[in-house]
Amino acid sequence: MTAADMLYLAPLLCLVAGGLAIMLVDAFAPKGPNAQRAELATLTTVVLVAAAGLSVALWMKGSTRGPEWITSYLATDRVALFFDVVICGGTAFAVLLAGGYLREHEMERGEFYPLVLFSAFGAIVLARSTDMLTVFIGLETMSLGVYSLVAFRRTSPRSAEGALKYFLLGSFAAAILLFGAALLYGATGHTDLAGIGAAVKSGHADTRLTVIGLLLLLVGLAFKVSAVPFHQWTPDAYEGAITPVTAFMSVAVKTAAFAVLLRVLVVAFSDPLTASVSTGWPAVFAALAALTMVVGNLAAAVQTSVKRMLAYSSIAHAGYILVAFVALPSQGESAVTAVLFYLAAYTVSNALAFGSLILIGSRGREAVSYDDLAGIGRRNPLVALPFILGMLSLMGFPPTAGFFAKYYVFSVAVQAGGGMVWLAVLGVLSSVIGAYYYLRVVVFMFMKEPKEGQTIAVPMKSGYVVIALILSAYFVLRMGLAPGAYLEWALEAAKRLV
């Protein structure tokens, strides 16, 4: 172990050091009713950007082959670096949104920022993990932070309730995942993914025990990516949390969960038996993907709350991503590329959507339901603009990031051929339902007027929120108009994994 080895961990160390420093800044800051905490949002964003910058530097330097004492627990490859940037970027969006939101709604409490940073740290550990031990540590570090963040609005019963449901089901899922990991350890004698993979491939592992372990593991992870039928906590937690936290959950947490799922399946379970298209995990994923797309979209269509609609929409998007997972064994590289691109595109689109929702609400009248949006587009077209762009991207309308993301995922499924074309067809069909509820937002903004006696939403003013919106809108358009570069990066990363 040398100091030079530590370079490979620089993004992670940056987040921890930054989080601890901000904790101390918050602890020693003057207290009082007028104490400002917004400068902490700037500091936190700087830390996140620095961590992402370190990952980019490692990528450019081509130093992706870390020493063994690191890689046996945390990956240092390009997939890891790609996810570093996506997670840090998504978290930075959420922090910027929080900087505006917390001040506007008078909830400025310093603990928000260290919690977000530690949670992002956990997400990155999870996305990089190459051993069941780091899977669990990353998962819990991330989740414990998020549970607390969901409960952040202490006076709101909804917030407490969302946090409670999320905590109970999340811990239950984590315990199931852990038992699966323990059984895999029993079957193979290894806790590292590569060791498990080698043992499974060589046939030394006990087959039935491996299958039970894998199933329990997948159930645990399906909870985290909120795949139907393990999604029940999602709408409640998303609705109960304050909107910046919802944004954080839907981008960083979801990305990390998919990242670990990807690594576990590719590294440990790519043998012909468990990855058999007809009887292995791809068959399970096909069912999960189909259910998730259909149920997510149908449930989103009947919501009256925009926030809850976006929660179900995030479930639907999880379904689309799962389609690419089904194609993993046959399409390898291009399936991984599709997943990476999708997660990056989804991160910026969702940041834009939640940011717009935050922008529309001001103190005491947070925008939550469709009715709150009524007429805002006519009174304030500039405020409605980012929301439209976000909805179009989530809907998958060209030329936005969301269009190419969906296109790649479904074309991977079509290329896989055989029994997978129906998944792509189902995906396209359920996206049509998506178009209905995303466009409904636009309809309410431009074609409805507030009802009698309803409070009229007045947009808030915040530099933080505006910056987040401009940046996410830029990336949504950039990835939609010129997806080439991003796709190449995703492909470059995917090559090393498969």
Binding site: D26, A27, G186, D206, R208, L209
Partner: protein, 119 residues
């Protein structure tokens, strides 16, 4: 040897089944004719006194939570202490980092007033 674990699934199912049966039997078979006398909490036969649930100050919970966190971290100190010489300087550096993080959290809890009994 691995065939030894195969009963796991069976036992898992048995556990789930057994627990379900016991809970169901209790609900179905248990006679239910509560009287005021029966509904009283059982305190070794003597008449119960005082409020049903004693309210403890919320401060106790906070202290308990802090205790649980800081107490358990000691679990990492024992293996290090046992292998202190073999781990050498690197072990010392790593443990110092670990303890620094803990101290920072302690300072945080202190400054936030979590350790003050009287507010």
């Amino acid at each position: 040897m691995l065939s030894l674990y195969l009963p796991i699934l069976v036992i898992l199912l048995a556990a789930a089944g057994l627990a379900t049966i016991i809970f169901t039997l209790g609900v179905v078979l248990g006679p239910k004719n509560p009287t005021a006398e029966k509904a009283l909490p059982y305190e070794s036969g003597s008449p119960s006194t005082g409020a049903r649930n004693v309210r403890l100050s919320i401060k106790f919970y906070l202290t308990a939570i802090l205790f649980v966190i800081f107490d358990i971290e000691a679990v990492f100190l024992y293996p290090w202490a046992a292998l202190f010489r073999r781990l050498g300087w690197m072990g010392l550096v790593e443990m110092t980092l670990f303890l620094t993080v803990l101290v920072i959290t302690l300072v945080y809890a202190w400054k936030k007033g979590a350790l003050e009994w009287e507010k």
